[in-house]
């Protein structure tokens, strides 16, 4: 009852591991499986740096037990480049980027980068649901992601520019 064998699909790979009841998903990912994309900041569900997707939805992995995620599909920022529009498998894997990641790079949407994995994962769900958000909508949707460096302006620019690229990808005539 205090230890559990669980199975997670992380970025498409099946991972089996043993966790304590109290092990948080973020620690299982980072310490157990070496996915260090999700960071640990406030540890209380407020800052969003630990955001990953669980079964397709953005969640704060510091406020989730690893056992609660048993059987689930997790995507961390490391797996995003493998999704639609990403360049995984094309370039050197270390350089592979998703359009949202590329937009953060190009728009200077980060300084220290600590908040970036969480920002990117939240933005990924929001852009999936709303391909053409207003700046106000982008700001509101990132309420649960705190940045101590950028002042958010370039973060919003990055999400806006990522939305453009993703829409072009879907446009019948466009695409890269």
């Amino acid at each position: 009852m205090y230890e559990h064998d669980i199975t997670l699909t992380v970025n498409g790979a099946t991972e089996e591991l043993t966790v304590e009841s109290r092990t948080l998903l973020v620690h299982a990912l980072r310490d157990g499986l070496d996915y260090t994309g999700p960071n640990v900041g406030c540890e209380s569900g407020k800052c969003g740096v630990c955001t990953v997707h669980l079964d397709g939805e953005a969640v704060k992995s510091c406020t989730l037990l690893a056992v609660q995620a048993d059987g689930g599909e997790v995507t961390t920022v490391e797996g995003l480049a493998g999704e639609k529009g990403g360049t995984a498998g094309v370039d050197d894997p270390a350089d592979a980027l998703h359009p949202i990641q590329r937009a953060f790079h190009e728009e200077h949407g980060l300084q220290c980068g600590y908040c970036t994995p969480g920002m990117v994962m939240t933005a990924a769900q929001v852009l999936e649901e709303n391909p053409d958000p207003s700046r106000e909508a982008i700001r509101a949707s990132l309420k649960g992601n705190i940045c101590r460096c950028t002042g958010y302006h370039n973060v919003v620019n990055a999400v806006e520019s990522a939305a453009d690229s993703l829409r072009n990808l879907d446009a019948p005539t466009g695409g890269r």
Binding site: M1, Y2, H4, E20, S21, R22, L24, E43, S44, G45, K46, G48, T51, E57, A58, V59, K60, T63, L64, L65, V67, Q68, D70, T122, Q125, V126, E129, N130, A137, A140, S141, K143, G144, N145
Partner: protein, 319 residues
Amino acid sequence: MFPPQFGYRRAGSVAEAVDLLAEFSDRDVRVLAGGHGLLPDLKAGREAPDVLVDIGGIDDLRYVEAGDGAVAVGALTTYADAVESEALWSRATAFAEAVSRVGDVQIRNRGTVGGNLAQADPSADPPAAALASEATLVARGPDGVREVDAAKFFAGGGGTALRDGEILTEVRLPTADGAEKREAAVGGAYVKKTHPASGYALVGVAAVVTVEDGRVTDARVAVDGVTDPPRRLAPVESALEGESADADSVDSAADRAAEGVDPEAAVSDAYASGAYRVEVLSVHVRRALETALDRATGAAATPTGPPHRSAAADGGDRR
């Protein structure tokens, strides 16, 4: 912050959950739903249960069902799922709006409507809306199913009418149906001043009003973030009932918001004292009533939901 050691069991059905709670009844056993109330408490050392019974996988308790006299929401429905229901918006507007104002995208993806009501945090959004909606909460335990009025559910200090071994399965929001609705127009609203750090309500007000022939025939107003437990504001309600449905009536009713609310006993923290919260209560009551009345009379459209499930419904703060 690691939670202390505890045992964990996953329940596949409501019956199994009730059995597991009974099996561990000699220990400190807790239900785990979304975990967004309980896990922060465990990490901060405010709670140290022996065993958690995880009901998060019971899909039977995820639904929004529009029935004849009520809209029923399954306890494990996440906020994000709940706000996708147009029926919830059109028929239980105040409750839908309160749910849509909880936390942020990630919190709304995980937290559950039932978990929120069971947590009974005085600064949570849905409890006031449940009070103003005169909701019924449905619990199931070893002795079967029990219904509790929202008015008798919240006990203060996080306590509720739930008994040991019981789980909350549904919240039922009564709505005017069919013929009745055509005669009288009902409008609801939830207005919130958001706590800058926690995201909970500094002050939240839920209002449900019924207008017939230009008069307010029924007014229900409840507040969270100020009193513990959240409660109805009877002086406001009685001041508005029978009056004409206009701004003057709303103003004089809202002026009575602080009547009987003791600032000394009000919720208070480093950001906002009890006195401050009571001070800004009446302006939020006025806004909630104005919006609810406009929606009842058709002066403003009743929202049909956020544009998509993760969208923030932030209107109440910036108006």
